[in-house]
């Protein structure tokens, strides 16, 4: 493998310098480049097509994910939304990183969870941190709602897809719209303001009462279609979620029995500590397969 060019100073010699990371300010420019939704400071390069990639056919953009998370599940219930997933970062078939937090809090109204390439998820967290820092600096009591985070991420994912360099994630955005001025939280019914949406790696997106990514779309979605209702109680919602997580753990080889459950209600966000579900592997046919198999010797 040829050494990849780095971003050291061009003064060190030809072929050493990489893309410019620092943008020189000139007398004509009003100031240093400001972060904005259209061009965040972190990963500004990812919004621009790397000219070296165009020039050099040997350099390629993301083609495969390396460290991945598996399914994420989300449902609405009476008081808000529940999102759950396991804490595994798989390296191919190897269950390599067993304490990965795949659900993150964005602010007091919004959480985000991801399956797919975990380094890309970390980059997305950084982008969202820039937005929440802007909100903090504006200091005007206005913070991002889930619908806005969802729309922003749709644009990010679609833009990356257009550059043939996707962020290899399926994202779930969940939360409760912050209340309007003059209306207290009790005025508005919860079902009007809860939000649950999914954004895929090429910018496909939808919002619904229950969303899933990865294997859960096949395994858990039918259970949600049967049993989920927007006004279900918290106990029923948690029980349904555990039922779905168990199915995903039994049937998905790249999963593990260590889950986090996150909840967003009008009171705020809470993400649980990891916990295990009781599962059953002592079926007769499992423990003594040859004894019960037809035609076994």
């Amino acid at each position: 493998m040829l050494p990849r060019p780095t971003s050291h100073s061009k003064a060190l010699g030809p072929g050493v310098a990489g893309p410019e990371l620092a943008v020189a300010t000139s007398a004509v420019q009003a100031g240093p480049p400001k972060a904005s939704a259209q061009q965040p400071l972190s990963g500004a390069d990812s919004f621009m097509v790397d000219p070296h990639c165009i020039a050099d056919p040997a350099r390629q953009h993301t083609q495969y994910p390396y460290v991945t998370g598996t399914s994420v599940l989300g449902i609405k219930y009476k008081d808000g939304v529940l999102v759950a997933c396991d804490t595994l970062g798989a390296y191919g078939s190897t269950k390599r990183y067993k304490s990965v937090e795949r659900i993150k809090k964005v602010n007091d109204h919004v959480i985000i969870a991801a399956s797919g390439e975990l380094s890309d998820f970390q980059h997305i967290i950084k982008l969202l941190d820039e937005l929440t820092t802007d909100d903090f600096r504006a200091d005007d009591g206005i913070s991002l709602g889930p619908q806005e985070v969802y729309a922003y991420l749709c644009r990010v994912m679609y833009n990356r897809r257009n550059k043939m360099d996707p962020l290899w994630n399926s994202l779930i955005v969940a939360g409760i719209e912050p209340p309007h001025a003059g209306a207290s939280a009790e005025d508005v019914s919860t079902s009007d303001v809860t939000f649950l949406g999914m954004v895929g790696m090429i910018g496909t997106h939808y919002s619904d009462s229950h969303v899933t990514t990865g294997f859960a779309s096949h395994l858990a979605r039918p259970l949600f279609r049967e049993a989920q209702a927007d006004d279900m109680s918290e106990e029923a919602a948690v029980a349904l979620m555990h039922e779905a997580l168990r199915v995903c753990y039994y049937r998905d080889k790249q999963s593990m029995n260590k889950f986090q459950l996150a909840k967003v209600t009008k009171e705020g966000v809470s993400i649980s500590e990891p916990y295990a579900l009781d599962v059953q592997w002592d079926f007769k046919m499992f423990s003594q397969p040859t004894k019960w198999a037809v035609g076994a010797w």
Binding site: A30, A37, Q38, A138, D140, G141, I142, L144, G145, Q147, E148, A151, Y152, R155, P178, H180, A181, G182
Partner: protein, 288 residues
């Protein structure tokens, strides 16, 4: 304001710590015709006086829609105002594209004020010669801001800028405590009365004034020409009835209905006192 040796460049301070060019730019705002803004708990109303250069030309527009939830009224150099209007519209539409939500008013005003400030600190630029009244409604409620060429901006409960705006401000200072719970119609009446106070000659007609309203569940809408005529009629009716404007302000909610009643009572009293003139003055009230 008189010429002195420190007022040639915007980048030259005076010994008293003043930037004269910026202050001269603020004078340009005072040359424009009056614009008035007021806020209630749910709506923002802007009212402007339109000037016509001569009988052949049209009246100069001073109110511009920025987005469904925001509009501005300008006073000063119209060309500078147009540039800022285009900038604000661009920011709002970009925000809507990325976030699918309306842009918070205060944040856009801060960006506009930063743009103003840049022009006060570059030797090759000149300050903007326009003041904006920005009225908008976002998640944190209705807001009214005033930007000025110095780069400062303030939020107001009610404000007037432009020529003879002091008369409008005096009227607003007298009545602003009733604005938070006032109805939209009452707000429009207050705005028009404040505007009328700034007229040096002539009176408000449907051709020379315009009103805009924006608020909760009320996308930005401009009321001018024939649409503003009913409000002017109400204004005229109250004036004809004599002490109706003062009575209206004491009314609890929704000024004009109570004003009509009390104005009618006053007119009735005049008619009872006798005299055809009083009877004719009462007629407009009765037909209302």
């Amino acid at each position: 304001m008189f010429r002195n040796q420190y007022d040639t460049d915007v980048t030259t301070w005076s010994p008293q710590g003043r930037l004269f060019q910026v202050e001269y730019a603020m004078e340009a705002v005072k040359q424009g015709s009056c614009a008035v803004g007021l806020v209630s708990n749910t709506h923002v109303v802007l009212a402007t006086l339109k000037r016509a250069q001569n009988d052949l030309s049209s009246y100069q527009r001073k109110m511009f829609k920025i987005d469904d939830h925001m509009g501005i009224a300008i006073a000063g150099l119209t060309a500078d105002g147009r540039v800022l209007c285009k900038y604000m519209r661009n920011e709002c539409i970009n925000h809507r594209f990325v976030y699918e939500a309306p842009m918070p008013v205060g944040r856009l005003v801060r960006q506009v004020a930063d743009k103003h400030q840049v022009c006060t600190q570059r030797s090759w630029k000149r300050p903007f010669g326009v003041g904006l009244l920005v009225g908008g409604y976002d998640r944190s409620g209705p807001h009214l801001y005033n930007t000025c060429p110095s780069g400062n901006y303030y939020e107001y409960k009610a404000m007037a800028i432009g020529a003879r705006s002091q008369a409008a401000k005096t009227y607003l200072e007298k009545h602003y405590e009733s604005f938070p719970t006032a109805s939209v119609e009452a707000m429009v009446q207050h705005g028009l009365r404040a505007l009328a106070a700034t007229l040096s000659e002539g009176e408000l007609t449907k051709a020379n004034c315009a009103v805009s309203i924006v608020g909760r569940n009320a996308p930005y809408v401009v009321i001018e020409d024939d649409d503003v005529e009913p409000y002017l009629q109400m204004l005229k009716a109250e004036e004809d009835a004599g002490d109706a404007p003062m009575a209206a302000d004491e009314a609890a909610a929704g000024g004009e209905a109570a004003a009509a009643a009390e104005g009618g009572a006053a007119a009735g009293g005049d008619a009872a006192a006798g005299g055809d003139a009083a009877g004719e003055a009462a007629a407009p009230m009765e037909t209302e």
